[in-house]
C-alpha cells in the first residue's frame, strides 16, 4: 500500500444504504449520499459468470465489470446488469434467505478530481468535477487494496496518479468499514 503524506485530508460525504426494499428482485439495495443532488433508488440485477476479461464499460456500469472479475466458484442463476450510478452492487447480492454467492473479495469505487491548483479532491461534487483538470475513478479491492478498475479523464503526471491511488486506498477503508457495520447491523436484527 502506498504512503499517504500527512497533509492530505481524505474525506467522503456522508452516505447510507438500505437493503431488501423490493420484493420481486432476488436482492436490492438503495444507496444515498447526503447532498442536494442524487438519490437514486434502482434495482441492480447482476450477471455473474466465471469468465473474465471484458471490454470497457461506462463508469456507471463499472460494477458489472468488477463483479465478473470476482470469481464465483458456483455461479448462481444469471441476472441482468443495469447501470446505476452510486450503487454498491455487492450489497444487493443477498438472496431472499440472506445467502450470498461466494466472492473472492469485496470492492468499492472512489473518485478523485485534480483541480486547477493541483489539489486532490476525493468524492467531488458535480461542480467540482466540471472544473477539474483531471478526474479518476478507481475500484479498490478489500483484501490487499489493489486497483481492480481504473477510468481516467484529462491528463496528469505519474506522481499525481500515485497520490490519487494512495488517497483512494485510504478512502476505501472508510467504505469497507461501512460494509462491515451494515452487515453487522443486518444480522443483529435477525437474532
Amino acid at each position: 500500500m502506498m504512503e499517504v503524506c500527512g497533509s492530505m485530508n481524505v474525506s467522503l460525504r456522508e452516505f447510507g444504504c438500505e437493503q431488501t426494499l423490493l420484493s420481486r428482485p432476488d436482492g436490492s439495495a438503495s444507496f444515498v449520499q447526503v447532498s442536494k443532488e442524487i438519490y437514486d433508488r434502482a434495482t441492480l440485477e447482476v450477471l455473474i459468470q466465471p469468465k473474465v476479461g471484458l471490454p470497457r464499460a461506462i463508469p456507471g456500469a463499472v460494477c458489472e465489470r468488477d463483479l465478473r472479475g470476482v470469481s464465483a466458484p458456483d455461479p448462481p442463476p444469471p441476472l441482468l446488469p443495469h447501470p446505476a450510478p452510486g450503487l454498491l452492487p455487492e450489497r444487493s447480492l443477498h438472496g431472499p434467505d440472506g445467502r450470498r454467492p461466494a466472492m473472492s473479495c469485496l470492492f468499492c469505487g472512489v473518485t478523485c478530481a485534480i483541480n486547477a491548483d493541483s489539489e486532490i479532491i476525493t468524492d467531488p461534487t458535480a461542480a467540482q468535477e466540471k472544473e477539474s483538470r483531471a478526474l479518476m475513478t478507481f475500484a479498490i479491492d478489500s483484501k490487499e487494496q489493489r486497483v481492480m478498475m481504473s477510468y481516467t479523464k484529462g491528463s496528469f503526471s505519474v506522481h499525481e496518479l500515485q497520490q490519487c491511488i494512495a488517497v483512494s486506498q485510504k478512502a476505501s477503508e472508510n467504505i469497507f468499514q461501512f460494509y462491515r457495520d451494515s452487515v453487522r447491523r443486518r444480522y443483529s436484527k435477525n437474532l
Binding site: P55, V62, R65, G69, V147, M149, K153, F156, L161
Partner: protein, 277 residues
C-alpha cells in the same frame, strides 16, 4: 504434437512458455511486436496511415468537412473518431451494426483525443459561431491479432500528422465559404499520445502487447497512454484481476519508453514523406 496440445489445452500451452519467461512467438514478456508504419497511401483521404503491430493491421483515414459549430462552443471544431472491426479482420466479428468491442474502442479513442489534447478544437474554428472543421477519423482493422487499441492510436496520430486542411475564405458579399483545395496547411499537433497495452496471466504474470490468443486467456487488461512530456492521458483498466500500485508503476515506465520509440518512428516516416514530395 505441439499444435494438438495448443488446441486442446491453450492455457497450459501458454503457461509452459511463461515458466521460461518467454512467449509462444519467441518474444520476452516486455517486448513489443515489430511495428511498421506507412503514411499517406490513401490519395482520396485528407490524411491516412497504415500501421502493423505484428499481424494486427489498422488503417486510419481522415476526411475533413465544413460544419457549423455548437451554440455552446462557438469557437471549437469537432473530431469524430470511429473504430471499425469488420468480419474480414477476424471470424469473431459478425456482419451488422458495430459490436460491443468496436463501440468500446471508439469511445476509448474519443477519450484519448479529449484527455491528451492532441489537437486543440479551437484550431479547427474558421469563423467563430459560423464555420468550423469537423475531422472524421475512421480506423478500420484489417487483420485482428490482439492489441488493436495501441495500433489505432498510432494510426490516428500518424494520419493526423499527415492531414492537411485546405484554405477557406469567406466571400464578403455572399457570406458563403470558398475552399481552395490546392492550398493546404498541416494540422497543429500539440501532443503525441501513444498507448501501451498489457494483460495479466494467472493473476500474476504481466505481459506486454498481447496477441489475440493471449488476450482471450488473460485475466485482466490494462492500457496506458502517455505523451512526450511523460504525462499520463489515459489509464484504462476495465476490471479483472487487481493490480498493485507498484505493478502499475512498472507498466507506466514501459509505456513511457514505448512512447519515445513510436514518436521517433512517426517523425522519421513523416520526414521521409516530406522529402519524397
Amino acid at each position: 504434437m505441439a499444435a494438438g496440445f495448443k488446441i486442446a489445452e491453450p492455457l497450459e500451452y501458454h503457461r509452459s512458455f511463461l515458466k521460461e519467461n518467454c512467449r509462444p512467438d519467441g518474444r520476452e514478456l516486455s517486448e513489443f511486436r515489430t511495428t511498421t508504419l506507412n503514411i499517406g497511401s490513401i490519395s482520396t483521404a485528407d490524411g491516412s496511415a497504415l500501421v502493423k503491430v505484428g499481424n494486427t493491421t489498422v488503417m486510419c483515414g481522415i476526411k475533413v468537412e465544413l460544419t457549423n459549430p455548437l451554440v455552446e462552443a462557438p469557437g471549437k471544431g469537432f473530431i469524430v473518431p470511429n473504430v471499425d472491426l469488420p468480419p474480414l479482420c477476424s471470424s469473431r466479428f459478425r456482419p451488422g451494426p458495430p459490436g460491443e468491442q468496436a463501440q468500446a474502442a471508439s469511445q476509448f479513442i474519443a477519450d484519448v483525443i479529449e484527455s491528451s489534447e492532441v489537437i486543440q478544437t479551437e484550431d479547427l474554428c474558421i469563423e467563430r459561431g459560423k464555420l468550423c472543421w469537423v475531422l472524421y477519423c475512421d480506423m478500420m482493422c484489417v487483420d485482428y491479432d490482439g492489441n488493436v487499441l495501441d495500433a489505432c492510436i498510432i494510426a490516428l496520430l500518424a494520419a493526423l500528422k499527415n492531414t492537411k486542411l485546405p484554405e477557406v475564405t469567406i466571400n464578403k458579399d455572399t457570406g458563403a465559404p470558398e475552399v481552395n483545395l490546392e492550398k493546404r496547411k498541416g494540422l497543429n499537433i500539440h501532443k503525441h499520445p501513444v498507448g501501451a497495452s498489457f494483460c495479466v496471466f494467472d493473476d500474476s504474470i504481466l505481459i506486454v502487447d498481447p496477441t489475440a490468443e493471449e488476450e482471450g486467456l488473460s485475466t485482466s487488461h490494462l492500457t496506458v497512454v502517455t505523451d512526450e512530456k511523460e504525462r499520463l492521458c489515459v489509464v484504462h483498466k476495465p476490471g479483472g484481476t487487481p493490480l498493485s500500485a507498484e505493478k502499475l508503476q512498472e507498466c507506466i515506465g514501459r509505456a513511457t519508453a514505448r512512447q519515445r520509440e513510436i514518436q521517433k518512428l512517426v517523425d522519421k516516416v513523416i520526414h521521409s514523406v516530406k522529402t519524397a514530395q
